[in-house]
């Protein structure tokens, strides 16, 4: 035990020394990685940290950026929302990073937002989220509701002829906002209130018996019913297990999920889930040369030929490429110059097509609807023809409908009704 502690300590000292040494030896461009490596969110965020390390390593192999090497500075905010803000401050003011790639939950993003705005730095946020936000200091590379939720509902209504809807979610800001948007969208399409059931459960809910029974009950009114699930994280596994056990088949009541990707499915036996749906902007199963290369690179980097790729990983890939291009174009890592250079940056996304950064700091993305296959992958059953631009403010929320997000003159504002000069 003693030896173990001593060697760990020695290792830590050496590691610190190693981290300091190159910074002194040569000038590098630092990139902050702000993802939880411990606590509840570690399950999802650790992967994104690894992706960032891979992207930085790859860029360095290509000769770095502006003639300098890139250096990833990894911190662990431990799934603790206030700690996110502290770590962000540490990255920006002490480590002097040029940009930060990080956050997963909306609450962690909301927690770091004031820090980024105060210190004027850049955050690349890679996860699909509820929208209703546009900050000068955040680039949103995940989907806004109009790039995920609305197309999924449209697909169910047209292809599966669904007329009765269960909106089930975890009880926090993302599901609540998304469901608010969806509810008003469905009502605008003529769906009656009695045909919409909204249900919230706590984080990590594990006993889904009564809720699945209730869904079955709601679905037996003689009208085609579907479940729109914004259930987040771990709670999905027991939810899908219960669906399978209670015999809710996708051909009877399909479930379309917005937070279930390849990583989440890796923990379950997917045979009973055949045909349930997910809406994303990327699936590992899409066969394009870019995607094949990305998957190969990832599995080699992580040294595990079975590791899966998922949507937020692609978002980081696109965000990082855009940032690299913007820095090259601006010729500097200065935040204001890079921000200006970001608008209109184009990157080929991994599923075919080109993503463009919009002036509202959201990118255009293709929307894919996939059905769960027996091997835990998704089979794309529907895809938008062209990438869809992300909308920061939803037209289906009355207060938001009149807002514009545009960070170029004369608007220079993330949510205002009339142009204002900064």
């Amino acid at each position: 035990m003693k030896i173990g502690t001593a060697s760990v300590f020695a290792g830590a000292v050496m590691a610190t020394a190693a981290m300091v040494a190159p910074a002194l030896a040569q000038d590098t461009i630092k990139v902050g990685v702000l993802h939880s490596l411990s606590g509840t969110m570690a399950i999802s965020e650790t992967t994104l940290k690894d992706v960032m390390l891979m992207l930085v390593e790859e860029q360095n192999k290509k000769g770095g950026l502006l003639g300098k090497k890139l250096e990833a500075v990894v911190v662990d905010p431990a799934s603790n929302w206030p700690l996110f803000a502290e770590k962000a401050r540490e990255l920006i003011s002490q480590q002097k990073v040029s940009a930060v790639f990080g956050c997963w939950t909306s609450v962690s993003r909301k927690s770091v937002l004031p820090v980024f705005e105060e210190l004027n730095s850049l955050l690349f946020y890679p996860v699909q989220y509820e929208g209703e936000e546009s900050s000068r200091n955040v680039f949103y590379t995940g989907a806004a509701p109009n790039q995920q939720a609305i197309p999924a509902v449209d697909y169910l209504a047209s292809e599966e002829k669904v007329v009765r809807w269960v909106l089930a979610g975890t009880d926090y800001v993302y599901p609540r906002t998304t469901n608010k948007i969806l509810e008003s969208y469905l009502k605008s399409k003529g769906v009656k209130s009695e045909d919409i059931m909204i249900n919230y459960t706590p984080f990590g809910h594990s006993d889904w018996q009564s809720i699945v029974a209730e869904i079955k009950k709601f679905g037996s009114a003689g009208k085609k019913t579907a479940v729109v699930s914004t259930i987040n994280g771990d709670a999905n596994v027991p939810f899908y297990k219960e669906l399978g056990n209670q015999g809710v088949k996708a051909t009877d009541i399909p479930v379309v999920a917005f937070s279930v990707g390849e990583e989440e499915l890796a923990g379950i036996d997917t045979k009973p889930l055949l045909g349930h749906l997910a809406a994303w902007n990327y699936f590992m199963s899409v066969k394009t040369p870019e995607n094949d290369a990305f998957i190969k690179k990832w599995q080699t980097f992580i040294k595990n030929p079975k590791r899966v790729t998922n949507d937020p990983m692609e978002a980081h890939y696109i965000g990082f490429q855009m940032w690299v291009q913007a820095v090259q174009q601006a010729g500097t890592t200065d935040v204001n110059a890079v921000r200006q250079a970001m608008y209109g940056q184009k990157v080929k996304n991994l599923t075919g097509g080109t993503s463009v950064m919009g002036v509202n700091h959201h990118i255009s993305k293709p929307v894919l609807i996939g059905e769960i296959k027996a091997d835990g992958q998704f089979n794309t059953v529907w895809k938008t023809k062209d990438p869809l631009p992300g909308a920061a403010w939803s037209p289906y929320i009355p207060e938001s409908a009149k807002l514009t997000a545009d960070w170029t003159y004369p608007w220079v504002c993330g949510g205002c009704e009339k142009p204002k000069f900064n």
Partner: protein
């Protein structure tokens, strides 16, 4: 829907005249087969229909392969092939049946289905097996027809009923027939009779059908459908209570499993053990390891891996428990605050250790076949996994009770916790008893982990989600009393599940917490308070 009607009729032709119909040539098959492996889902629907119309063994084989996910396009030459499994293997040319080499799934592009096509195929295959399949297949076919309610299937169904010998299957077919008649535009009298027949089914499917008919049928039929539906609704409302009670029992069993180990370490020994949840988690990971070992070295045992995991989990967690007691907790007896902090720290250490060894992502522990699915018990849906967990929780509880009450070790344990100096002077090695008691509590938590791995995520955070509930159960039931733990777990489980449909899961939990706070205010020692001098000490 229309295309489906035609599909059924064609499938019947296909079924009846399979041998007689001239087999379609390879050229005829080529176009629809190519459509099946394409990207256009409406073209696929038409291609399925075209194949059913052509008939012949090749077309039937292709449809079967499509339904089972074994139809592929080879990426190298675009040939449509059939593989023996959904992950490739030795291929045959779908159009000619000739051998076509072999390939793995990265060289093949599967012919994908969506839910609509899956329904279409299920209907086709169902009507194929209506008269020819095994009784189970015939019953499934009748069930599919009940769901589809397709008037075009009626003549075939009537014919099938006439020649059906198995009474159960015939009843299912008659039910399907009634469903079709009810939703068709048959004479009113027939539809009214059909409404009564469907009403006898008294489940959700029947209710859904009756309600949809009641919406748009002639008044007399709608009235009959409404009457039947009302009867079903009354029946279902009764069932709902029973069902919620069962859910409550099963949640209670889960809580009991999670808390019963804590009832030993906290209840009997008085150690505020925040690392209790991590023992549960270690038990779940042991299950994962045992299952992986079975998967790689003895696949035949996979279905029984849980029985191997039980003793393994008990030993692993008991050993870890004994180690913790020896190294940390024994120095902190009588200092509850320090114990709380130390065990909480330990829980973080164990979590991070597991995260480093097994990775942060969830591990898949599969359900053995005898724990998957559900059984229908007079209209109640009882899922096997929950049923076994109730049985298992009761077994664990009884076993622990026997150990505490009927064995020498149990006697020593109670002696030590009630009066340590006296027990010591009677020759009991109290330190050893402390260690064993802690090991026992941890081991029981470990076997709880085996059960919980079946219904929850096996992740490093597994324990955290149960620790609060466990303390709640033990404190509510009465510290130091196993029966209190049982009563506490069941009360909380049932109360939670009765509240959930009314108040929702989030509010339900809050109400339970508030009720517990109020209860503890009135009875600080919980449901079953220990009495006597030991308590005052």
């Amino acid at each position: 829907m229309l295309s489906f009607l035609r599909g059924i009729a064609l499938a019947l032709m296909l079924a009846l005249g399979l041998g007689a119909a001239p087999a379609a040539s390879a050229q005829d098959l080529a176009a629809p087969l190519a459509a099946l492996v394409g990207d256009d889902y409406s073209a696929k629907g038409e291609a399925i229909e075209a194949l059913a119309r052509m008939g012949g063994p090749r077309a039937a084989e292709a449809l079967k392969a499509l339904a089972e996910g074994r139809l592929f396009r080879r990426r190298s030459d675009q040939l449509v092939v059939i593989a023996p499994t959904s992950s490739g293997g030795t291929l045959t040319d779908a159009a000619t049946g000739a051998a076509a080499g072999s390939a793995g799934d990265r060289e093949l592009e599967a012919a994908n289905l969506n839910n609509r096509l899956r329904r279409q195929l299920a209907g086709l295959i169902g009507s194929l097996t209506l008269t020819t399949g095994t009784p189970a297949e015939r019953r499934a076919a009748a069930e599919a027809l009940f769901k589809q309610r397709d008037p075009a299937g009626l003549p075939a169904l009537t014919a099938a009923i006439a020649q059906e010998k198995d009474a159960g299957v015939r009843a299912a077919m008659e039910m399907a027939r009634a469903a079709i008649v009810l939703s068709s535009d048959a004479p009113e009298a027939e539809r009214i009779a059909a409404a009564a027949t469907v009403g006898a089914r008294s489940d959700r499917e029947a209710l859904g059908l009756l309600l949809s008919v009641a919406g748009g049928a002639p008044p007399a039929v709608a009235e009959a459908a409404r009457t039947s539906a009302a009867a079903i609704e009354r029946h279902l409302a009764m069932l709902d209570y029973a069902q919620n009670l069962y859910y409550g029992l099963s949640l209670g069993a889960v809580l009991l499993l999670a808390a019963v180990g804590l009832a030993v370490t906290f209840g009997v020994m008085g150690v505020i053990n925040m690392a209790h949840g991590e023992m549960v988690m270690l038990g779940a990971y042991t299950t994962f390891v045992v299952q992986e070992l079975c998967r790689t070295s003895a696949p035949a045992l996979l279905d029984y891996a849980l029985f191997i995991a039980l003793p393994a989990a008990f030993l692993v967690t008991a050993a870890v428990g004994a180690l913790l007691e020896r190294s940390v907790i024994r120095w902190l007896y009588g200092r509850p605050l320090e114990t709380l902090l130390a065990t909480w720290g330990l829980s973080l250490v164990i979590q991070q250790a597991v995260r480093s060894v097994f990775g942060p992502t969830n591990r898949e522990v599969s359900n053995p076949s005898w724990m998957s699915g559900a059984v229908d018990f007079y209209g109640l849906t009882l899922t096997w996994s929950r049923l076994w967990i109730i049985v298992f929780a009761v077994l664990v509880f009884v076993l622990l009770l026997v150990v505490l009450r009927r064995t020498a070790f149990g006697l020593q344990m109670r002696a030590v916790t009630q009066n340590r100096p006296m027990a010591s002077s009677m020759g009991i090695r109290t330190h050893r008893v402390d260690m064993l008691t802690f090991a026992l509590g941890s081991g029981v938590a470990g076997i709880a982990g085996v059960a919980l791995s079946q219904i929850d995520n096996v992740s490093p955070n597994l324990g955290q989600s149960y620790i609060i509930d466990s303390f709640m159960v033990v404190v509510f039931g009465g510290v130091g009393n196993l029966w209190g733990t049982l009563a506490g777990a069941m009360t909380l489980g049932i109360a939670n599940k009765l509240l959930e449909p009314v108040a929702g899961a989030v509010l339900g939990k809050i109400i339970i917490l508030v009720l517990i706070i109020l209860f503890i205010q009135r009875r600080p020692r919980g449901l079953f308070a220990l009495r006597g001098r030991a308590v005052e000490a």
